[in-house]
């Protein structure tokens, strides 16, 4: 039997005390710490961070499906035997943007059908187009190019190609050994003018590229949005002299609505109008004795808009961007009023516009109206003249610029609505790319923000919006690569709305910035009084245990 060790008659209270201290420590560490950690944790729903960082390296391939139709005798016979086949022309767009963009023209060559042969052998372009227009509506983004014989009289003799208003074009063929490659190059030139060129994409991505040139074309277009509100206002500063009437409802119905319905794929539009009396321009026009008229110089034009804007009521409208078109009828004392360009010559349209805001046109009353009648003179506004200018301004504000035509190309001009279908396609291409760029930037910066600040709560619906946005971006990229422009545009719109909704969710507010010294200041008064006795008793227990282990060595 081992003898009891010296000094080991430990009283039971001390043993109980030791056990109690050990239990306290155990509960504090095993239960308390995890519980504290769990309850002070913020709820963060999981996000697809890896996929979001993968979006940065996304390669955008924009495919334009082109159908090239060869009539008889447009190319040599042995080349005709090789039809139908497909040629792909792919080119990378050289932009300094992190996403690589490749533009791919997929040309499907085929022989002309009978009715197409018949249509293209008619006398004039209009008849040919009327006959060709019968088959089904072409999908957005696709083009059809007809190749006619070299000496055909459908086009004027010196013109090599023709671009029509409906996604069709006509190109002259050639009887030459290298017929296909020469014709192929001409087709590419025409197709590029009708769909995608570098400046269209550069304008769309203007915000995301480093700014080396501030060209006005690039900074003008409206940003892509789900809808727009267009307001037409008539400003009459002098109702005592002019009793102005304008048939705005009719004009909107006849001229603006067709234009907007042609553009309807790009967003929802709503139109309203108002008449403002006693609304003056903020600038006093100067008198020009040479022409005995009043003029507004170019450098005073920027100051015109702001004093008027507060009266337009545009802030009460919807959350969509607002475009204002103002028609100003100058006062009798300042009539006639012309706008001068920087060379001092009066501008033909008597109108000017401001990017992302709208346009102003000055309508001078015909001086003959003053002769017989007493004031106020009844003025009927010629809506055709006015709408011609406003619709041209609307096109410019949307960024639908004149395309760069290849050499010797005849351009028929838009149809009665004022917009050709392939101009709409160009807009949709540009908008899709812009939307994808915006959505990607938003998602990347959101992921960065949430990763950096670890105490922002991420709710479930924010997470689901992010997932939806990522899926939409990927879908849009796929649809663009397969050439379905309409569904790609819709997917890109959805990507932008979801990513914006996730980014601007009101719950993502990081208000709680805790510098480290403040964190210590909060926790020390809570934990220190509790932790010090436990730690000290643990230390004491440990030292005593070590001492009691050492003792047997000393004895033995």
């Amino acid at each position: 039997l081992p003898a009891p060790q010296v000094g080991t008659s430990v009283p039971p209270e001390v043993v109980r005390g030791k056990r109690a201290a050990l239990f306290f420590a155990a509960v504090a560490i095993v239960l308390g710490l995890p519980l504290w950690w769990k309850t002070t944790e913020t709820y963060r729903a999981p996000l697809p961070y890896s996929e979001i960082s993968g979006l940065d390296a996304l390669q955008l391939r924009l495919m334009v499906p082109v159908t090239v139709v060869f009539t008889r005798e447009s190319v040599p016979l042995d080349d005709q035997e090789k039809l139908p086949f497909t040629v792909v022309h792919e080119r990378e767009i050289p932009l300094k943007y992190k996403m690589k963009i490749k533009c791919r023209f997929q040309k499907a060559y085929r022989r002309a059908l009978d009715h197409e042969e018949e249509a293209l052998s008619l006398g004039s372009m209009q008849e040919a187009e009327a006959m060709l227009a019968e088959p089904q509506e072409q999908a957005e983004g696709s083009l059809t190019v007809y190749v006619i014989p070299e000496h055909s009289s459908l086009l004027p003799q010196d013109m090599m190609s023709y671009i029509g208003p409906q996604r069709t074009a006509v190109v002259r063929g050639i009887t030459h050994r290298e017929a296909f490659s020469i014709v192929g190059r001409r087709v590419i030139q025409v197709a590029q003018a009708m769909s995608l060129t570098e400046d269209v994409l550069a304008a769309a991505l203007a915000d995301h590229l480093p700014e080396d040139k501030w060209s006005s074309d690039k900074r003008r277009p409206l940003k892509s949005s789900l809808g727009y509100e267009i307001t037409f206002s008539l400003l009459n500063p002098d109702p005592k002299s002019h009793d102005v009437h304008w048939d705005i409802e009719g004009a909107v119905r006849r001229y603006v609505q067709p234009f907007l319905s042609a553009l309807s794929a790009a967003g929802n539009f709503s139109v309203d109008s108002q008449i403002l009396y006693y609304a003056v321009l903020g600038v006093n026009p100067r008198f020009d004795p040479a022409s005995s008229s009043y003029y507004l110089a170019t450098h005073s034009l920027p100051h015109v808009i702001n004093p008027v804007e507060s009266r337009l009521g545009s802030s009460a409208a919807s959350l969509y961007p607002v475009l204002n078109f103002l028609l100003y009828v100058p006062e009798l004392a300042h009539s006639p009023l012309y706008i001068q360009d920087k060379d001092g010559a009066p501008v033909a349209t008597n109108a000017f516009h401001s990017p992302r805001w709208g346009g102003i046109m000055v309508y001078n009353v015909d001086p003959k109206a003053y002769n017989a009648s007493k004031l106020p003179v009844r003025v009927e506004v010629d809506m055709v003249q006015v709408m011609e200018v406003f619709l041209a301004q609307l096109r410019l504000l949307f960024g639908i610029a004149q395309p760069q035509l290849p050499l010797k190309c005849l351009f028929s001009g838009p149809k009665s609505e004022g917009l050709t279908t392939w101009e709409l396609d160009r807009l949709l291409w540009a908008r899709s790319v812009e939307n994808l760029a915006t959505a990607t930037t938003t998602l990347t910066s959101l992921a960065q923000l949430l990763g950096k600040i670890s105490n922002i709560v991420i709710k479930d619906d924010v997470a689901s919006e992010v997932y939806r946005a990522v899926a939409a971006v990927q879908k849009a990229a796929e649809e663009l690569a397969s050439g379905h422009l309409a569904s790609a545009f819709a997917a890109s719109q959805e990507a932008v709305t979801s990513s914006e909704r996730a980014f601007f969710d009101p719950s993502l507010l990081h208000l709680l910035y805790f510098p480290d010294d403040q964190k210590f200041a909060i926790y020390i008064p809570l934990f220190l009084p509790m932790a010090v006795p436990i730690l000290l008793s643990l230390v004491k227990i440990f030292l005593e245990t070590r001492k009691s282990w050492k003792k047997p060595e000393k004895i033995d």
Partner: protein
């Protein structure tokens, strides 16, 4: 943004309203201004001249006017709301006038005043915003391209500490005092009983009164405003994050609103629908004939009124109280010393 409450912080409200007034005068419309005032001085029960907020001694300039549009008032001015306005994370029910609807082409001017310290600014006497939160908010604005260029002016004690932590590009910052210095107030007014303005903003306001919308003054002149001899504190500025050279930046780029315009040179060809137009003319004409011609009264020459400078107030004889007090003193004097002393006075 004015962040202080209580009557003795009258000067902060006056500061903010002066800048508001200058900015409106130089052309920025109310729809583009978000004004946050933490307390209502004009209708405060302690204001001896209700519905006015003065910024000059002798009540020369009433900056409250009658077209002030305050977007966030009183207890709505909190750090949370301020950050929400900046970052755009606003609940969907917020009206348009309370939102910052800027895009990547907008130049934004932010003016803050109140009580501050090293690295923070006090809101409503109960919470603070730190310079790190502000820098993070600006970074989020930059990520979402909510501004093109940003000018940040702060008039508080130790104001320079608030802009130390900015790290987003295209920000220029001005402060009324360096770290460790206090910004002092300018002039007390005996009738109202409080200090009316802070020195820095007072001199900035004087500087801005000289500017008109077509002016070509640049930022370097704004940096020279309020030297140490006038302002006691040393104003500071920070331009390293800004890409353009400050001497090429016009004051009106931030304080005024000059839009880019282009002459329209193209028109669209439209075919008029002639027959329809004829019939609609006839219909309008017939309706109009039956109505009596309207008479228009003489209207006010609005343009002249807008551009008027505020006139100096005329001198008024002292108020009844002062007169009564003097009368009492004279009466007591003569009562005590007897009426025979009157001949020595007259």
């Amino acid at each position: 943004v004015c962040t202080s409450r209580f009557w003795f912080n009258y000067r902060h409200v006056a500061n903010t309203l002066s800048v508001y007034r200058s900015v409106k005068r130089l052309g920025i419309p109310d729809s583009h201004i978000v004004l946050m005032l933490a307390d209502d001085m004009a209708c405060n029960p302690r204001n001896p001249k209700p519905a006015t907020v003065f910024s000059h001694k002798n009540m020369e300039l009433n900056v409250y006017g009658d077209d002030v549009e305050v977007d966030y008032r009183s207890y709505e001015v909190t750090v949370e709301n301020f950050l929400r306005v900046l970052t755009g994370r606003i609940p969907p029910s917020t009206p348009r006038s309370k939102r910052l609807l800027s895009d990547d082409r907008s130049n934004i001017l932010i003016y803050m005043t109140g009580h501050g310290g090293n690295g923070f600014l006090k809101f409503q006497d109960s919470e603070e915003i730190t310079n790190i939160e502000l820098a993070d908010a600006f970074e989020q604005m930059w990520q979402k391209r909510r501004y093109n260029e940003l000018l940040f002016i702060i008039d508080t004690c130790q104001g320079a500490s608030m802009y130390e932590r900015f790290y987003s590009p295209n920000i220029m910052a001005l402060a009324s005092s360096q770290v460790g210095e206090d910004s002092l107030s300018h002039q007390p007014d005996p009738a109202i009983g409080v200090h009316l303005m802070d020195r820095y903003t007072f001199y900035v306001l004087e500087f801005l009164e000289e500017i008109n919308p077509a002016s070509q003054t640049n930022m370097n002149d704004l940096f020279q405003v309020c030297p140490k001899s006038l302002c006691v504190s040393t104003p500071g500025h920070r331009t390293d994050l800004f890409q353009r050279d400050p001497k090429n930046v016009l004051i009106t780029d931030f304080f005024g609103s000059v839009r880019k315009v282009e002459i329209t040179t193209e028109t669209l060809r439209l075919q008029p629908h002639l027959e329809i137009m004829e019939s609609s003319y006839k219909k309008d004409w017939m309706d109009e004939e039956l109505v009596e011609p309207l008479k228009y009264a003489e209207q006010l020459p609005v343009a002249q009124i807008i551009h008027q400078k505020p006139k100096l107030k005329d001198w008024h004889p002292p108020g009844g109280f002062i007169l009564g007090l003097w009368a009492l003193i004279i009466m007591v004097f003569f009562k005590t010393y007897g009426i025979k002393h009157m001949k020595f006075i007259f």
